[in-house]
Symmetry: C2
Subunit: 162 residues, 2 copies
């Protein structure tokens, strides 16, 4: 079957799953960008992922239970991709990545707003966001707080000011 693992170190195993240039981009777009279909991920990707790479990454993420897929009732070829509990729990990791990137890389100010807000919100905000994602992607009861609305509002405010 597939190759064995390089080691049993948690950091290494996480890297084996997500340590490439595209997997986390796809998950980010599903998580923060609300992309649920192949075409949305392909065409509305800021970074311009190639279709074969997207197909491959979706396959791998599905195989590793980081995404799930169901048929879209409105179109017999469409699939709807959803986050899973493991990928929802990547929120703190992505928040830290955003926070680090904002400080140490040449980010675009508008795109950095969300990272800044998410860092300032801290673990309480991350938990609220995870609850919201569980409602959207896993059918859990909707929480009171909508972090995605907060992020969107902050992003649009930043856009308007620029």
């Amino acid at each position: 079957m597939s190759h064995p693992h390089r080691s049993g170190c948690p950091i290494n195993l996480t890297l084996e799953l997500l340590g490439d240039r595209w997997s986390l981009i796809v998950l980010r777009d599903v998580m923060f960008g609300g992309r649920r279909h192949y075409r949305e991920l392909l065409n509305q990707s800021e970074e311009g992922i190639a279709s074969n790479v997207l197909a491959d990454r979706l396959k791998r993420l599905l195989a590793n239970d980081l995404l799930s897929r169901v048929d879209d009732p409105s179109h017999k070829q469409k699939g709807v991709y959803s986050l899973t509990e493991p990928s929802i729990q990547l929120v703190p990791l992505l928040a830290q990545m955003g926070a680090w990137g904002r400080r140490h890389t040449p980010t675009t100010p508008e795109l950095a707003i969300r990272a800044e807000l998410l860092e300032a919100g801290g673990p309480a905000m991350w938990e609220a966001f995870m609850d919201e994602l569980r409602a959207i992607h896993l059918g859990a009861p909707p929480p009171a707080r909508s972090v995605s609305a907060e992020l969107r509002a902050a992003f649009e405010k930043a856009l308007a000011e620029a």
Copy 2:
């Protein structure tokens, strides 16, 4: 010169720097494993990095200010690699990676101990560890708390119990 960035998104830019299978492994070994020389990184690597890949990654990490290098006075061919302030600030990111990996990948119990302790310690422990790394790698005054000693003790206790 070099290629332009794919986008100004903080997560993407972090991925462009660190989104490969080896860069964070090298930084992890310097940070948690106390590796400071090329040979230490090459031979004591749990995952078995190839020498040409290690050479390339060290070059890239140096170029991106995630490592620094000075000559070793004890040996005219040796270099000593040190973390920089940006890479020291990766501690929270690596802590989150370890915490996620411990929950969602088949980690080795002994190797998971440090991740568990680091997660339980939370931001206070991370800050203390960063201060310790600043002392070791940047020549800052030594802090009172030694997180590396705590991690080592926990690791060896786990080894002894197994």
